[in-house]
Amino acid sequence: MDASAAKLLGAGLSMGLGAIGPGVGLGILIGKALEGIARQPEVSGDIRTNMFIGIGVTEAVALYAFVVALILIFVAK
């Protein structure tokens, strides 16, 4: 396999594998937040704010994989 093919393959793999964990995490996070809102609608504002903080932190993991993929495609020699 030549180097450019390996780079593209690595980029695709890093994005695909890196999206698994955050996907599961976001599902759990939003599911639990909705559960909490359904049980106690009166605190839905607080739950929503904290949910967005959690979303930001969780999805950053997938974005690191995206940045690694970009580096593999455009920067790595």
């Binding site: 704010t49 967005f52 903080i53 999805e59 950053a60 974005l63 690191y64 995206f66 970009l70 495609i73």
Partner: protein, 285 residues
């Protein structure tokens, strides 16, 4: 008039249009380099001052536009403030309410009044920069219309995150005193060697907050613009009018999603800034 046409006729019409589009031969294959959308070529060349290149490029122009939009909006709202608000004033008041109560008020316990100006300004600036990134402006190659956002540039987001980083430690040191502030990085009950180790880990985590705050915003904007560009480019790659018609619908959906992402990312940037600064202010003793 369209109501009298029976449903099966409409269906056949749609099928005929789609087949017709599929039968039209596509034009010659064109290349659209997605990565080129993010290249920064100087628009106005200026000399280097030391290691710093002062040339004006796309990102600088987008920053200027965002600043101008915010300044004009602020001046207009200041001059036309009325007791009975119009539509524009209501929108601005909603934005202010969101920044004041939704972001700063809900996260910070003390110091909300001191730090609201910074966090509100960061929120509005990131929001306006993100949204301007979705307006086609003639700054692509050969002055074509193109999408770019100032926040799709790591240097811009890193600068914004550095502000939050600096203000976090400034706020913590000012409130608790330098010795007390850094002492609080170590837990009280831990044995001596472990305490230094935890101190180092805490320092690394502070640096990583800086990285994650900047990379999150940057990568979100780059990913959104890259997906938009790929959707537009796919019509050229497939060389078919049918694919083009379907993919334009897809890119419209992506565009709507990107508006949502632009707002959410500004919200997350501001709220994480508030969480970090609030965490430095309220330390457990």
């Amino acid at each position: 008039m369209l109501k009298r046409v029976p449903r099966w006729a409409k269906l056949i019409g749609v099928v005929v249009v789609l087949v017709g589009l599929a039968l039209i031969p596509g034009r010659a294959k064109q290349q659209l380099e997605v990565a080129k959308e993010f290249e920064l070529t100087p628009i106005v060349k200026l000399p280097h001052v030391g290691p710093v290149d002062l040339s004006i490029n796309k990102a600088v122009v987008y920053l200027w536009i965002a600043t101008a939009v915010i300044a004009v909006a602020a001046l207009v709202i200041n001059r036309t403030l009325k007791a009975r608000p119009g539509r524009f004033q209501l929108a601005m008041e909603g934005l202010f309410e969101l920044a004041r109560n939704g972001i700063v008020g809900s996260v910070m316990k003390s110091g909300a009044d001191t730090w609201f100006p910074y966090i509100g300004a960061a929120f509005v600036f990131v929001l306006v920069s993100n949204v301007i990134g979705l307006v086609p402006l003639p700054f692509a190659e050969h002055n074509q219309l193109g999408f770019y956002a100032a926040t799709a540039n790591l240097y811009v987001t890193l600068t914004l995150a550095l502000f939050t980083f600096a203000f976090t430690h400034y706020a913590g040191i000012k409130k608790n005193g330098p010795v007390h502030y850094f002492k609080n990085w170590m837990p009280k009950g831990a044995p001596p060697v472990l305490r230094e180790f935890i101190f180092v880990i805490h320092g690394v985590s502070e640096i990583f907050r800086l990285v994650s705050l900047s990379v999150r915003l940057f990568a979100n904007m780059v990913a959104g613009h890259a997906i938009l560009a790929v959707f537009f480019a796919m019509a050229l790659i497939f060389q078919s009018y049918l694919a083009a018609a379907i993919l334009q619908g897809g890119s419209a959906m992506i565009y709507l999603f990107e508006i949502f992402v632009a707002v959410i990312q500004a919200f997350i940037f501001a709220i994480l800034s508030a969480v970090y600064i609030g965490g430095a202010l309220e330390q457990e003793h």
